[in-house]
Amino acid sequence: MKDDPIARVLDDLLKFDDILACMVGRRGMIDSILPSDGTDSFKPEINEIWDIVRRTMDSQLSVISEFSQVGLKRLNFQLQDYDVMFYVIPDTENALVAIVRALANRGLIAVEMENARREIIRIREEEEKKLFATT
């Protein structure tokens, strides 16, 4: 996972004080991509609510897998003192997910989430091109 460029994009997001955890997730958490050191760099306060966040997140990822093909781009929900932001990766059933503090400046984080989504799309396109070239 250390050499995965998408994991490095997630590493960058986690450096923001208000982003407690992030990943590229998919329904059932199959093939989810975590930061380079797995969940170790998630902020400790997330541990207390991780189980409930994970369950609600998974149900939202089901919604995403159903509606991403018809143009669903973004979902947000508030859980206790936290916001969970989903940015759908187009043409996939995956979403970039971040858990942030409810009092964080979401507008600023939204800009960096959008930059991360664009970077992930670029990395995937490059990988596809490489794959296409070798087959």
Partner: protein, 436 residues
């Protein structure tokens, strides 16, 4: 090779380490310049405070730049340039042109004595440009914006229903303003003084910020990091320029009179003889608990107060930055007691850009470079749709360099249009070649 033409270039870094970011932003800004820059304007987000510090950022810049390069800058909540839109990183504009004189200045203690700070800064600019013969005059002013004391109950809360008496809280706020220089930016007062001292200049201004926690912000002057200061870049050049402020706010039919406010007019206690916060929500038909700390931005920011700072009925937006008890805390002082609720939607925020750029369409030449001060509340409310703001600028500037820097309390001044100091606005300073 024509070495007498103007060269302008954008630098940019997303590195986390302050020193490395400083080097990268300087290196990328000057890589395409034939001559050393006449000036360097640097904007950075607050993140470098924890990743080496701003002194290291500046040290990194001057590892690359010639040491006598005039530099001003400051912290912003985000920026947009020819590369993208960012809420983290550093960007810079470097300009090199033989037919241009440049001076930089600074004034300290803007929150305690804004007029004195403006005069201190003006003296340096006037001295630096006294022998210049060029007729087009420009001043970029970056001023420390409002800062909250970093202690409970302020911290990150926009709404305080404190168990402490609100009166006591506001009294503490006044003490903090003068002694700790934590409080209202008073950047509008700095600007008013500067316009008196430089009535024939064109000006662009903005309040430096952090990531909207409003706890601290910094200004850069050459290789020094300042606080509670104004830093200015004065230019006299052969190049033509103009400035423009647009906001596209619509007036609602909710009008009121401010019947009790703080001495400086920034904190509104009563409107139409009733406690301000409750009355405002009643007029908006909002239930008492609708505005919360969590949804403060997407609710209240779309409904700024319309106010007049010059006793006329031309209303400009000012944002409610916080609600303490029944008092509405704003960052701009109003002279007139008459007010109105203004409103806008996302489309309207974007149309403010079209309206602004339209005013430059009749200029004889295409833009050579531009600096744009946009309200951080526009960034906060547009979120990722802010990319649509940048696309409009890319269309207009084509390959030419521009930076939109997101600030709190933004302004333009021109001898023809006077001072526009408002919130939620889009403010341009655009330069083009004169017609021979």
């Amino acid at each position: 090779m024509n070495t007498s033409k103007l060269e302008a270039s954008i630098g940019f870094s997303r590195k986390w380490d302050a020193r490395e970011a400083g080097r990268e932003v300087a290196k990328s800004a000057i890589k395409d310049l034939i001559r050393p820059p006449n000036f360097f304007v640097l904007f950075s987000t607050i993140h470098y405070e924890k990743h080496g510090g701003f002194q290291e950022l500046l040290n990194g810049v001057f590892d690359i730049l010639p040491h006598n390069t005039p530099l001003i800058g400051g912290t912003v909540s985000g920026f947009s340039n020819n590369y993208g839109v960012y809420a983290r990183g550093a960007t810079a504009l470097a300009v090199s042109y033989p037919h241009m004189d440049v001076a930089i200045g600074y004034g300290k203690n803007t929150k305690r004595n804004p007029k004195k700070a403006a005069r201190q800064c003006a003296k340096m600019i006037k001295e630096g440009l006294k022998d210049s013969k060029y007729e087009n005059k420009f001043l970029l002013n970056l001023i420390s914006a409002s800062e909250l004391p970093d202690m409970p109950p302020f911290n990150r809360k926009k709404i305080i229903k404190s168990s402490l008496s609100i009166k006591l809280l506001i009294r503490f706020f006044s003490f903090s303003q003068y002694v700790l220089q934590k409080g209202a930016g008073r950047d509008d007062e700095v600007m008013r003084e500067l316009t008196k001292l430089f009535p024939d200049y064109y000006m662009l201004g903005g309040g430096t910020l952090d990531d909207e926690k409003n706890l601290r912000n910094y200004q850069f002057f050459n290789n020094r990091v300042l606080k509670s200061s104004v830093v200015s870049l004065g230019i006299k050049t052969k190049y033509k320029l103009d400035v423009c402020t647009t906001h596209n706010m619509k007036k609602t039919d909710i009008n009121f009179n401010i019947t009790r406010s703080s001495k400086d007019g920034r904190i509104i206690h009563e409107i139409d003889g009733k406690p301000a916060a409750s009355e405002l929500q009643k007029r908006l038909n909002w239930s008492g608990d609708l505005i919360t700390n969590e949804n403060f931005y997407p609710t209240i920011y779309y409904f700024p107060l319309g106010f007049s700072s010059d006793d006329n009925k031309n209303l400009g937006p000012r944002i409610i930055g916080a609600i303490y008890g029944e008092s509405l805390v704003t960052v701009i002082s109003a002279k007139s007691s008459y007010g109105s609720i203004l409103t806008i939607d996302g489309k309207g925020l974007l149309k403010a850009i079209d309206d602004n750029l339209k005013t430059f369409h009749d200029k004889p030449n295409k833009p050579k470079f531009g600096l744009i001060a946009s309200c951080t509340a526009r960034l906060e409310t547009l979120e990722e749709y802010i990319y649509q703001e940048r696309e409009r600028l890319l269309d207009y500037f084509s390959e030419k360099p521009f930076i939109i820097f997101y600030v709190g309390g933004e302004s333009t001044y021109s001898p023809e249009k006077g001072l526009k100091f408002v919130n939620m606005s889009f403010n341009t300073a655009i330069f083009w070649k004169e017609v021979n």
